[in-house]
């Protein structure tokens, strides 16, 4: 077993959607558990993909034990987050009083706002991760990050939420009775514009929600700092799951740059779905009809073209991201829906 899997405690599996990120996270978790570590795999994907990969149809609770056939003691846990419910919990924690909490949670606009802020999945995932890190009985924590349109959302969302909760912004919306003359010119005009565009009723309702959120900014800001500290810690390993193609290379390069800017080290790139090499053509010594030979050679050519295409982009990955360790996982022709296959993939990953 390679050192990195032994040394680190938290494994963040990031990258674009559609490259098998969830499967990689589940496979890693399964293998770490087989190695004897008490492991939790956290996913926030509403499509319940981890559940399927682990052979469950639905999860009944947030933290579910997964029994592995090889070992007696339960070592693997899977957690699927209901983000809306979890975000409510966050609000409950940061709210100053029972009354404030109820007022916010019962507000229709609050719900839509949380959704449109877009970062609630990411924020909830990071919150839950913080909780797991505080439970010392978990030796390994694997996070399947939300499938963002852009991988950077994961890093930026908690910050964006903290910015939004910034006291100085909230204050503008509060005390709507304040005469406009007291605002700076820009704010005054902005308020007038909004009122004209959206009508005064809507504007009042919005100001009310913002008013309710008063006093919560410190909580959000502190948690954001805590998350950033955790991401930078030497106990955390950040991995990108990707695929050898032009679009995926561009994304991965951009992602690694963004991590660098935030001083978060990238531990590795996992190139998934790599085609196995195969022979160029049927040897002439083998006796076949001309049609059989032609058909078979056509399929072999197609597969070889795929291998060449991938090799081209694997080389580019090695050029552009040369300092980052790379792990390759082969493409599976069968669907992955059992623990056996997951543990095989996990084994390849860590060896």
């Amino acid at each position: 077993m390679k050192q990195i899997w032994k040394d680190k405690r938290i494994f963040l599996i990031g990258g674009p959607g559609g490259v098998g990120k969830t499967t990689v996270a589940a496979a890693l978790g399964t293998q770490l558990a087989i190695q004897g570590y008490k492991t939790v795999v956290l996913t926030v994907d509403p499509a319940k993909r981890l559940a399927q990969a682990l052979g469950f149809e639905t999860f009944s609770s947030d933290l579910q034990p997964v029994n592995l056939p090889e070992i007696k003691e339960t070592k693997l846990f899977a957690s699927m987050l209901d983000t809306q419910r979890y975000f409510d919990k966050v609000i409950t924690r940061f709210a100053g009083s029972e009354k404030q909490k109820d007022k916010i949670l019962n507000n229709r606009l609050y719900r839509i706002m949380v959704e449109s802020l877009g970062g609630s999945h990411e924020y909830a995932a990071m919150e839950r991760l913080l909780e797991f890190t505080k439970d010392s009985s978990f030796e390994k924590i694997v996070v399947d990050t939300p499938p963002s349109q852009n991988a950077l959302d994961l890093l930026n969302a908690p910050q964006r939420l903290a910015d939004f909760m910034d006291n100085s912004v909230l204050r503008w919306f509060q005390n709507t009775k304040t005469p406009f003359s007291l605002f700076r010119q820009g704010t005054k005009m902005a308020m007038k514009l909004l009122e004209k565009l959206f009508g005064s009723d809507f504007f009042k309702a919005l100001a009310e929600v913002m008013d309710d959120l008063e006093g919560m900014h410190t909580g959000f800001r502190d948690r954001n700092l805590e998350v950033i500290r955790l991401l930078k810690s030497s106990a955390t390993g950040f991995f990108i799951v990707s695929y050898p193609s032009e679009v995926r290379l561009c994304e991965s390069v951009e992602f690694s740059k963004a991590l660098q800017e935030k001083e978060i080290p990238l531990s590795g790139i996992i190139l998934n779905r790599i085609e196995d090499p195969c022979p160029q053509e049927v040897p002439p010594t083998i006796d076949l009809t001309p049609q059989e030979r032609e058909e078979i050679n056509q399929v072999l050519t197609y597969k070889n073209n795929l291998v060449t295409q991938q090799q081209h982009w694997i080389n580019k990955f090695n050029t552009f991201l040369k300092d980052i360790p790379e792990i390759r996982l082969e493409r599976r022709s069968e669907a992955i829906h059992d623990l056996e296959t997951l543990s095989q993939i996990g084994k390849r990953l860590i060896s």
């Binding site: 674009p16 959607g17 559609g18 499509a47 993909r49 606009l109 839509i112 706002m113 959704e115 449109s116 877009g118 499938p147 963002s148 349109q149 852009n150 930026n156 939004f164 100085s168 912004v169 010119q185 820009g186 704010t187 005009m189 902005a190 308020m191 514009l193 909004l194 004209k196 565009l197 959206f198 009508g199 009723d201 919005l206 193609s245 679009v247 561009c250 994304e251 951009e254 196995d276 195969c278 022979p279 049927v282 040897p283 083998i286 006796d287 059989e292 058909e295 078979i296 056509q298 399929v299 072999l300 197609y302 597969k303 073209n305 795929l306 060449t308 295409q309 022709s333 069968e334 669907a335």
Partner: protein
Amino acid sequence: MLLKDSRTNSFLADSLKRKVIFFTGKGGVGKTAVAWATALALSRQKRKVRFVSWSPFESSSDPWALKSFGIPTEQLEASTCFKEYALKTLKFEKFVDAVFENKVLKAFIQVAPGLSETVIAGKVWDLYDRAEQDTIIVDLPATGHALAFFKSPMGIEKMFATGFVHRQAGNICDMFVDPFTRLDVVTLPEEMPLVESAQFIDEVQQLGKFPLGYLLVNQCTPQLPLPSPLPKKLPSDIKECLEDYEIRMKREKAAIDGIKDLPLLLKQIPRFTTEAIKETIENMADHLEK
């Protein structure tokens, strides 16, 4: 699969009739590439095409291949569109920059429910209304956000009881259901992306009578014929390789067959083995023209 009245079997012929074509799909299915290929196929037919894309948060890292095809491309962004809209509708020239640099407004644009979506949809409507092009290709974000894109203007009349935005929303809704509009969904020949596409289509149908177009299944393994059964005397490595190919084809077919009674026409796009995305798009456009 049902063949619906207004659509013909030719993707290109149908596309030539449309004024606006929306593309969406789960992340990572090649939605943007398919949208590009459609734009290219239309522009080869001497159509004036405009390509607009929108991603709700950060701008995406797509390669810029379309620029070399000479098709006007625009990445829409909510606050810029909002500014443009406010300027035009309200004749709000004074202090415009001060207003739009304002922290309050920035925060508001980010959180006001459905505002970004409506403003973007408003911009598309504006282009559609001015009709300076034959076809607008709209590359929407992944399915979850695309749903919000269609939902927001529809729900906004209730949310904003008065004001300009309220009035604008009606126009946008009319554009969505215009028979010259089309909504296509891009997916992969795998079980989960197909199931998720079907769920999206179901939800969109509950929203309203959208002119649904094609379910474009991208990266399909080309259906090459093979001797059946495979000759016995083949070396084991070749045999393995061919069996793997057959399993892949079978799995893809089963996944596609599992999706039934969709109100969209199914169109399969093969997986290309070209290296650069630009060539892939050209190949895809060739295929869509067939």
